[in-house]
Symmetry: C2
Subunit: 167 residues, 2 copies
Amino acid sequence: MRAFQIILICVFLIMLFSCNRKQEKQEAVSIKKEPNELESLFPKGKVGASELFTGKAWNTGLVDPDSLYTTAVGNVYFEPGARSNWHKHPAGQILIITDGAGYHQIEGKPIQALKKGDVVKCPPNVRHWHGASHDIGMQQLYIVPNTEKGIVEWMEPVSDEVYAMAK
Amino acid sequence: MRAFQIILICVFLIMLFSCNRKQEKQEAVSIKKEPNELESLFPKGKVGASELFTGKAWNTGLVDPDSLYTTAVGNVYFEPGARSNWHKHPAGQILIITDGAGYHQIEGKPIQALKKGDVVKCPPNVRHWHGASHDIGMQQLYIVPNTEKGIVEWMEPVSDEVYAMAK
């Protein structure tokens, strides 16, 4: 019966090996984002200056403004809790949310909750801020039209008290 | 040695069972979109007129042009094989590919292959076309700047011969 034992041990080892192989393969196929990890269309880019953002906001420029298109386009990923300072755009701004959750506020108006697929417009020379929700980050495309009028004027940070009002 | 054989058989069966269980669990976590199903950020919208597109192209307007932002933004989903007619924009156009695969051609230049994350610019008053690849659809955002100059001038369909050169 020794031969039978050897065969059994061989089958056992083959199964162990093949089972682990299958799992490895499945893991390779099923690498998926974590619950709070967002879909990213673009490279993460560079972290925004701490003088302009609270928390970390990563910026990737997609279209640099020039005299032909007079339009700036880019992507910002706000980490959870991160937001821009108050600022305004001489020709306004359009935001397109591509993943996650966040907020937008035009000064004097209620804070607006944002989610994937939302489109927001902020008129020229109006103070506003935008950023991620407290617990989930936000991926947003920004479009700044008519850049011949200017792109952005930065102002003071959004206080924790103002940001907390979004919850 | 009979006891040793029984133990080996038991271990073998336990392994077989636990290996299958692990695979089931992994499959449950890894439910993913079909290979050709694209990520959609926006509603599918309306199918474009057959006079302007070959195959089906679904359009969702996101920002209507007005005198404040002078910018039109929208999303087009081209089904596999679908493409726009030749056309031009008096102030040019910016395309952002958000999923799938497709093509863009400026008249007289080689056909450019497009994939998720690509950004394309077409200068003012230049004839071009864009659409999906032969086998995979394409989700694209379009930005038309300076709409006070006009939005689009439509022309003839892209022939099968021209489209086939992309392959």
